[in-house]
Symmetry: C2
Subunit: 351 residues, 2 copies
Amino acid sequence: MNRHQKEKADEASGQGRPTLKTLAFMTGLGVTTVSRALKDAPEIGAETRRRVQLVAKQIGYRPNRAGVRLRTGKTNVISLVLNTEHEIMSFVSDIIYGVSEVIADTPYHLIVTPYSRSQDPLDPIRYLVETGSADGVIISRTQPNDPRARYMLERGIPFATHGRTDMGLIHPYHDFDNYAFAAEAVRHLAGLGRRRLALLAPPVELTYHGHTLAGFADALSEVGASEIPFNTVSIDHSIEQIRMRTAQLMRRENRPDGFISSAAAATLAIVAGIEDAGLKLGRDVDVVSKQSSELLHLFRSELLVVNENFRLAGAELARSVLGWIGGAAPGSLQSLSVPGEVQAYRRPAST
Amino acid sequence: MNRHQKEKADEASGQGRPTLKTLAFMTGLGVTTVSRALKDAPEIGAETRRRVQLVAKQIGYRPNRAGVRLRTGKTNVISLVLNTEHEIMSFVSDIIYGVSEVIADTPYHLIVTPYSRSQDPLDPIRYLVETGSADGVIISRTQPNDPRARYMLERGIPFATHGRTDMGLIHPYHDFDNYAFAAEAVRHLAGLGRRRLALLAPPVELTYHGHTLAGFADALSEVGASEIPFNTVSIDHSIEQIRMRTAQLMRRENRPDGFISSAAAATLAIVAGIEDAGLKLGRDVDVVSKQSSELLHLFRSELLVVNENFRLAGAELARSVLGWIGGAAPGSLQSLSVPGEVQAYRRPAST
DNA sequence: GTGACAATCTGTAACGTTTCAGTATATAGC
DNA sequence: GCTATATACTGAAACGTTACAGATTGTCAC
């Protein structure tokens, strides 16, 4: 051992976290060789590779994220961009878990980047891109002409959207088929003899507002039912507002006998409004609602529900982003979740 | 301009993100000077400092996180560690927003580190500490003797717990006063003439199980009411199980005439169970429940609620961790949230 | 034995930052 | 005029990683 190697040994044997230098010392190789051996580079001998990998595993070597990031620009970070005012509660929780599930055995970390009402939704995206803080981004509340998607496409940063855009541009997305949801809901209500239907839709600016309306309208004419306009509120409005508007609507002459609601929390408000007007669910009016946790049937057993699985969405979105980062074609990373049937309440087996 | 400076110029004027080198070139100073000027070091002339900071602001300089992290070990990351099975849904969403709110104008990022049923809760903590992935950690589901808190105290990494420990060790926490909640709930039920009370408590292993039980027991003897044991389930159990057990309990001879529930979702199950048994809320039995969003009154107007604000908890926890990182005494970073009064439903102003 | 070539390994530099150990200049003391 | 000291600045080194451009072998053809 020459003086040079001796110095290395002194440094590398320190009790801190093992680095490539530590491994290099332990194996008697150079750091370059170790680095390449760990990533299965072709010019490393088979035995050396195995030896290095064994030692690395033994001492629990983990590459230093800052080192990698500084050298390569790779952050190993996926950012989930969320609106702190309008996201559905269970959406946040479930989508995070879905994403987590997928990135669990990758080196990726999940960072949550929030933005609030007062901010341009583009702000957090700009920040992420300009500072190179993430390798991939997931956004929700997607719009038909979405500046965020456009911006990220221009900058070439991989992303996936929850919901589709409509700009003639190709990018990964995961979406729930809200057209099918609304259409199925209409058909189901028609099957129950309901003829005058009201829709509590998503806010107009979001893409799935359009999808939902289209499904609603198409099925209405298909079954020959009519629409009772209810577009002074959306699922983004407060519980109190929806409740009030619903009660107003239900007190009118030509009130609806069926409701379709795009979100569970809003459905609670609709039901409250219906009851405020002195009417009874299941008798005077039926309500079909989307929900993401199985809670609405506990609320009122007369409710009719369609489930949307946000955890699945999170997983799917994460897979898409990782796929794009990994070089897959963005067009091949799009998925649509087909709604199940409208479900009525089934009393559980009693004890 | 000598040859050396010329080279710098060539490199620094590149259109990439500005670095210290860019600033050094633009101001004609050395990188060291620029670095110090930006952090208000004392040995920099006042005018130089202002000049550097002005230029930095003008060109939108932002320190490279990887560079800082590699050199100093500072990650500028707070990690929120979550159980993917048992966290309350709104907890995840609200606490994230609370934390976000506080770290919004700091350089900190929030990463979410999940762990699942199958894992030792210590695993994610070990990972964070061993890889130096965060400057501070927030954990929930705190236990009286919490190995995670003990571990982080040993390793000297700043953290805050949602809920207290009981190990004689001092660390930042934020907690809701569940003793007061349970006691107030008992008193309120007693005031309604309820005498035989059942408690749906948090899981035994968590610290606030003890707090809740103590408040319950103390107030029971204070008002002279009695307990109907209901400890075969906790709020961690499934909706179905709670519902079934509640129904069983309510069909017994000596059934409770009052319930106290530590979580909103569980309350839905309790009410369902009560109604399964053919009994009526408000007539046969009253239920006081904690909730974190204002939804229970929509569910059944007879429900009595106490609000727990998770967003506030998130903000408080973030402040605590940042405070500890900033050098404050951990003992000074503890807070307890006092529950408001038990609230009955107030019909909203009609239109 | 020589040259060519493949196989395998290595040192150096660079990513952007901060720290250490200076250097240069001005001011003051005497 | 000299040293001492404070002020304001600077270059080099280091954090851990990867890419580039070699360096050292051994093998084979002829």
